[in-house]
């Protein structure tokens, strides 16, 4: 076997009050995809930032091709051939693809001060075609590109540095299934070209397809490094969370007593939702699967009154309602937990407590005047019940981890009388531990007789939790199945095509 291109030994990094990394070892070989996993706060991104020169570790050594080095800045890292593609894009929307790829390192023309545009576009084109994405025009402004295309531009930008090591941080989070497939092909190409890849991700079901080895971190500590083909999902989860998780999707047996929510041939104006008929009964978890863009979120927005229904009817507990606004639907007992936690779910500048009571405020204090103590108490109760990790209810919410933020979004609705809840991607971007807590909670809510409609792109969870499953394809329901009726493969197929 070759020598590692990068080897980090005994890396420790402290932040005020937290030992973010505690003597972590990590090595990386050329042409290898080395996955780093762990719950939020396990130290994944701290480790990758130490490699990238964004943080300077207090202890430990980093060797590149056998030589001990000190990486003090991202410029140093680039000098050693290390670059990164972040989850949140760093592209400038109003510049062209080529300008973004060569941002701040433009090719100079012979005329002083002028940029050699022609050469820049040629070089950019070369990189894009090496990625098999020549259909992206180097002259297009980045803002006109889709998420997957932006991702490709980011990768092209990374490649333009001719790196030996690329670090990916949750690269597939914004991509749809189809785009992910294309993305993995690119990863394989990079591997074949001998580039070493560090891959930070939560998404366990992707590991088989692209990973070679996995390093597991927990609470900043190094737990171990294993080969992808030698470990099962359960064993991996156990390494990550430090406890046994034989029954991830445990459901309580309960009766489904009567209809809670039903739609009758509802359509939106844009044709994203077409004649959808679904029913959710009390005490039932109903899954809604489909590709990104299949119209799942749009359907939820229609039912919740955010967008106008063009045609069709909505029935709540058997009674026909004309959906006007979220205020009205909340009064009728419906709640929606939106997929975009930061954009739609939370007021990031405000405290945990204020976010928790944001929906229920007017019910708590119908006489206009509020009582801060009562709000703190209510928040404390939710914090305890949902095990939200926050030093106090007055903590500004943006400082909480993704999993804890999601719990706050759930807490908002637990304080209302809602007995029909729509969970849109409730576990996106959060760690395994928090996911399982949310599954348990959803099961508990269903057992209490609440009706739950769950939208999810993670097939395993939507199959694992749902009593019934609808599949949406291009705005139409193409399949309805009971628990255990269809295999994961069959469901995957039905998501892709109408005729399955």
């Amino acid at each position: 076997m070759q020598n590692p291109i990068l080897s980090a030994q005994g890396i420790s990094k402290r932040f005020p009050g937290v030992q973010a990394l505690d003597k972590v070892d990590f090595d990386l070989y050329p042409g290898e995809v080395h996955i780093i996993v762990g719950e939020n706060g396990a130290g994944k991104s701290t480790l990758s930032k130490c490699i990238l020169g964004a943080y300077l570790p207090e202890e430990g050594e980093i060797y590149i091709e056998g030589k001990k080095v000190s990486i003090k800045s991202s410029k140093d890292a680039l000098g050693f051939g290390i670059t990164a593609v972040y989850q949140e894009f760093n592209l400038i929307p109003y510049l062209s693809v080529a300008q973004n790829i060569y941002f701040n390192r433009e090719f100079m023309s012979k005329i002083p001060g002028m940029v050699d545009m022609k050469k820049m576009h040629e070089e950019a084109k070369k990189i894009l075609s090496s990625l098999n994405v020549d259909y992206i025009d180097t002259k297009t402004k980045v803002k006109h590109l889709g998420v997957a295309e932006k991702q490709m531009v980011e990768i092209a930008k990374a490649l333009s540095f001719k790196p030996k090591i690329i670090i990916f941080d949750e690269p597939t989070a914004p991509l749809s299934e189809r785009e992910i497939e294309a993305f993995f092909k690119q990863i394989h190409k990079l591997k074949a070209a001998g580039i070493a890849i560090v891959y930070v991700s939560h998404r366990m079901h992707e590991f088989d397809q692209i990973g070679d080895r996995i390093t597991v971190l927990r609470d900043g500590k190094y737990i171990g490094t294993v080969r992808v083909d030698s470990i099962s999902d359960d064993e991996l989860v156990k390494m990550m969370v430090g406890r046994d998780v034989s029954q991830v999707y445990k459901r309580t047996e309960n009766e489904h007593t009567g209809e809670a929510l039903r739609t009758e041939n509802i359509c939106d104006k844009k044709g994203k939702v077409r004649n959808v008929n679904i029913t959710v009964n009390k005490g039932e978890i109903v899954g809604l699967a489909g590709l990104v863009g299949a119209g799942r979120t749009e359907l939820a927005r229609l039912i919740y009154g955010v967008d106008d229904i063009y045609k069709g009817n909505v029935y709540i507990k058997g009674e026909k309602v004309s959906v006007k606004s979220p205020e009205q639907m909340v009064k009728l007992g419906l709640g929606l937990l939106p997929e975009d936690r930061k954009g739609l779910g939370l007021a990031l500048k405000m405290s945990v407590a204020w976010n928790i009571v944001s929906v229920s405020l007017r019910d708590m204090f119908p006489k206009l005047f509020i009582n801060s103590q009562k709000i703190s108490d209510a928040a404390e109760e939710n914090i305890k019940e949902l095990r939200i990790m926050t030093p106090s209810p007055h903590r500004i919410i943006k400082f909480l981890s993704g999993g804890n933020q999601q719990k706050v979004v759930i807490a908002k609705w637990l304080n209302t009388d809602s007995d029909i809840l729509i969970f849109d991607e409730p576990t996106r971007g959060i760690d395994v531990g928090a996911k399982m807590e949310i599954y348990t909670l959803m099961d508990k809510l269903a057992a209490e007789g609440k009706a739950i409609l769950m939208i999810s792109s993670e097939l395993q969870e939507v199959i694992g939790l749902s009593d019934r499953l609808y599949i949406l394809h291009e705005g139409k329901i193409v399949s309805e199945s009971k628990r255990g009726e269809l295999s994961e493969e069959e469901i995957g197929l039905r998501m892709l095509t109408v005729e399955a």
Binding site: P326, E327, G343, A347, V359, L368
Partner: protein, 316 residues
């Protein structure tokens, strides 16, 4: 006590409070007349109308909006009410009409911003032009003066040693404090300013709240217009011009972010006091009124700069 300190640290107004303190300290060093009771009362009286306008504006800014029309509303209400007084309408009704008039113009702003989704800056600038134009049409270049004494009392009179406009400002600030901090309405205003979309998804009637906030802001502008008319014992079209963007400056100096979702009336009190004291001390020192705007401008820029820096530090 610890709780109080902690709350102060978290509040946006801490820095402006320190600024105010330093300003008072320096001013009392520069001029021995500064800390005299009559001068302090003068400062309070001079700041009171700016404060009433700015406090109303504070609520709007918290929704991530702005209202540039308030000084024009004040002038319009002042002119209208002066005419009504001249026509012999009883003072009580004049006040009611003035406040309602302000509220209606505010509601119009709320409609432009909440329903038609116009950018607040442009929408309220447009309203400002319209309202100023209406004043011009109504007044035809005239100045109305010589108003009834029991009306001018509201501008020049005293309750004990305290000028009436100061009492009015204190009451209005008190109302806003309760409204913004202690009611569901106020908290929803903060939520809307912090994240408009999340407020929609949290089933908050966002449009209604925006209508209400702009209306209330218009009503305080109406009150300011009435008190200003009483104090000047006259009304003319340009009477609100001195306040112009000073109202926005007072709000921002007080630590209320133009990005919405944070700040509050207490900061605005400090902001209005800072602006007034700067002018007052320059007058005491005999600095030419031509040079005064330069100093005011510098004060505005530096206070807001300090606020931005301190916010960045807090984030890190």
């Amino acid at each position: 006590m610890g709780k109080v300190i902690k709350r102060l640290q978290n509040s946006q107004g801490l820095l402006s409070l320190m600024g105010l303190f330093i300003l008072v300290l320096l001013s009392s060093v520069f001029s021995d007349r500064f800390l005299r009771v009559d001068n302090i009362i003068t400062i309070l009286r001079q700041s009171s109308i700016l404060l009433i306008l700015s406090v109303g504006l504070t609520g709007v800014v918290i929704t991530r909006g702005v209202d540039l029309s308030i000084s024009a509303i004040a002038a319009f209400v002042g002119c209208t009410c002066a005419q009504l007084l001249k026509a012999g309408v009883p003072i009580f009704f004049v006040f009611i009409i003035g406040i309602i008039l302000g509220g209606i113009i505010g509601l119009f702003n709320g409609f432009l911003v909440g329903k038609l989704k116009l950018p607040p800056f442009v929408a309220t600038y447009g309203t400002m032009m319209v309202v100023s134009g209406l004043s011009l049409i109504m007044m035809q270049g005239a100045v109305i003066y010589g108003l009834p004494e029991n009306f001018t009392w509201y501008g020049v009179g005293y309750i004990g040693p305290i000028p009436v406009p100061v009492v009015a400002a204190v009451i209005i600030v008190g109302i806003f404090l309760v409204l913004l901090k202690k009611t569901t309405f106020g908290r929803e205003i903060y939520l809307i300013g912090s994240n408009h979309n999340a407020a929609v998804y949290s089933a908050i009637p966002v449009k209604k709240r925006i209508y209400t906030m702009y209306s209330i802001c218009g009503m305080t502008a109406g009150v300011a217009g009435l008190l200003l008319t009483a104090r000047l014992n006259a009304a003319e079209v340009a009477m609100g011009d001195t306040f112009g963007l000073q109202t926005v400056a007072a709000v921002v100096i007080g630590g209320t972010s133009l990005l919405g979702g944070e700040g509050g009336p207490v900061g605005t009190v400090i902001g209005a006091l800072i602006l007034t004291i700067v002018v007052n001390i320059m007058n005491l020192l005999g600095i030419s009124s031509y040079a005064q705007p330069v100093v005011i401008g510098v004060v505005i820029i530096s206070t807001v700069y300090l606020d931005v820096v301190s916010k960045q530090n807090r984030v890190n």
